[in-house]
């Protein structure tokens, strides 16, 4: 599976490494035309305000909405989760408005409150090491969204059909099981299309 990583700003190389560890081929995506060549797209961690501005500037908002509309999978981590949300708490305008959820930015506080922990995730048999860096939280979801994991009563991993989102950074550890799960989603989407 060819998995693209949106390469406008953020932890692109780390995701490409995890994709390759999980058996996929990782591609840095800088232009909208590249979306036609990939089976799934990851929106990485970084600064959501910066990524959001550059997405608007280069036509990625419409292009990714169309891409996801075709049933192709999109996975957002940290800033990527913020970018996927339908609603944001606070002043920032929502970006892609694809996942039916409300997200709070910097929900744990500042960098001194950033942490790592072991996390149970639905569909993954043993706990995943999750790194939370100035992380957002999913405050509310509609019934279209499946909750995959909670941390201290708050939603931190969610899936809505072909869309996947995590508050934390699965790309900062050697544990690539969440990437494996996403590559599985890409394979499914491709098979459905072939039939």
């Amino acid at each position: 599976m060819r998995i693209g990583v949106l390469a406008l700003q953020g932890a692109v190389a780390e995701h490409i490494r995890s994709i390759e560890l999980a058996g996929g081929t990782g591609v840095a995506v800088k232009k909208t035309e590249q979306l036609a060549e990939i089976d799934g797209l990851i929106i990485p961690g970084g600064e959501s305000t910066t990524i959001g501005k550059l997405m608007r500037k280069y036509g990625f908002v419409e292009a990714i909405r169309e891409y996801a509309g075709q049933g192709k999978p999109v996975f957002g981590t940290c800033a990527g989760l913020i970018v996927l949300a339908e609603r944001l708490e606070g002043a920032e305008e929502p970006h892609l408005r694809l996942m039916d959820m409300t997200v709070a930015r910097n929900a744990f506080g500042r960098q001194r409150e950033s942490f790592e922990t072991d996390l149970d995730v639905k569909g993954i048999d043993t706990p995943l090491r999750a790194v939370f860096i100035r992380a957002p939280l999913i405050k509310q979801v509609s019934d279209k969204v499946d909750i995959l994991s909670m941390y201290k009563g708050e939603i931190v991993t969610a899936r809505q059909g072909n869309l996947l989102a995590s508050s934390y950074h699965p790309e900062l550890t050697d544990d690539y099981r969440l990437h494996e799960l996403f590559i599985g989603m890409a394979r499914e989407a491709k098979n459905v299309k072939a039939e």
Binding site: G10, G46, E47, L54, R110, Q111, S114, T173
Partner: protein, 293 residues
């Protein structure tokens, strides 16, 4: 649940990659920088070119300014502490600063020892002009590096030199045999284990940004080509004719550093960049890069 681990601290710097970190001297400037797409804001009382002009002792920013900037923006806020001044660093940490720059731009507080950065929950960035400095700072606990360049000059030549020296040294280390590595660790004054890690991976264990002299979109793109993970812009934005335009243009040129038509387009209609300083005209005591080795 663990805070302040090396993964959490280094990871924070990794999220800044491909981004531009901008120096600001007021809340108004912080808002302009964030709106232009800065991935982090460096709050300080004076940008390096003003520090040069003013002379005297340059210290940590006033806590009120730091607090006001933290309130005004949602992106991470950085601030500078003097080299070796661990109390300034602790004060900045207590204010909620997300990242500390132990910086040669300020007047050093200690001419021998750097801060033991492993004792802090929040991460540090430090300047380096060669691999020895880079690995010594990492050994002390730095989670991010940047070239020193020559701050406040608007002259990219020193940042280019430092980036080329470090990438060249990394390439050479990759090809050394084990006995040569032992010797090289001694020459560079660094821990063998850190050098072995560079030998095995072919890269530094933390991100390395460009800093010190970036004044135009092309400067930023040049540094990205030379291997920088991102860019710090100090005096280059708020000492230019039109800070807002310069800030936006440098952000775009950093993302699309290989797209020359785009860099040409964003470089139009910017007005004049900051006025530069020819570095050979600086007295040796005015060279900030020679502080904190």
């Amino acid at each position: 649940m663990e805070t302040g681990t090396s993964r959490v601290k280094r990871g924070m710097a990794e999220m800044q990659k491909g981004g531009v970190i901008m120096d600001v001297m007021s809340v108004e400037q912080a808002i302009i920088a964030e709106a232009a797409g800065a991935t982090a804001i460096m709050a300080l009382e004076r940008v390096p070119s003003d520090i040069r002009a003013a002379g005297g002792v340059a210290r940590m920013a006033n806590p009120e300014l730091v607090e006001q900037v933290i309130k005004a923006v949602s992106v991470p806020v950085m601030a500078k502490a003097r080299i070796g001044h661990f109390v300034e660093a602790k004060v900045l940490e207590s204010l909620g600063v997300d990242y500390i720059d132990e910086s040669e731009v300020l007047t050093p507080a200690d001419e021998v020892y750097h801060i033991d950065k492993s004792l802090f929950t929040i991460p540090f960035v430090c300047g380096a002009k060669d691999l020895g400095e880079a690995l010594r700072r990492i050994q002390e606990g730095a989670s991010m590096l940047r070239t020193k360049g020559e701050p406040g000059t608007g002259n990219i030549v020193e940042a280019v030199r430092h980036m080329r020296i470090i990438t060249g040294q990394v390439r050479r280390i990759q090809n050394l045999s084990k006995d040569e590595l032992f010797h090289e660790a001694k020459i560079l004054g660094v821990a063998y284990d850190l050098l072995l890690d560079v030998h095995n991976t072919g890269r530094l264990p933390v991100v390395n940004f460009a800093a010190g002299g970036v004044a135009t979109p092309s400067d930023a793109a040049l540094m990205m080509h030379l291997g920088a993970d991102g860019v710090f812009v100090g005096s280059g934005i708020f000492k230019s004719d039109s800070p807002e335009k310069f800030a936006r243009a440098i952000v775009e040129a950093t993302t699309h550093y290989e797209d020359y038509e785009l860099i040409a387009r964003v470089s139009k209609d910017l007005g004049a960049p900051m006025k530069g300083i020819e570095i050979s005209k600086l007295h040796s005591s005015e060279r900030m890069q020679d502080r904190g080795l």
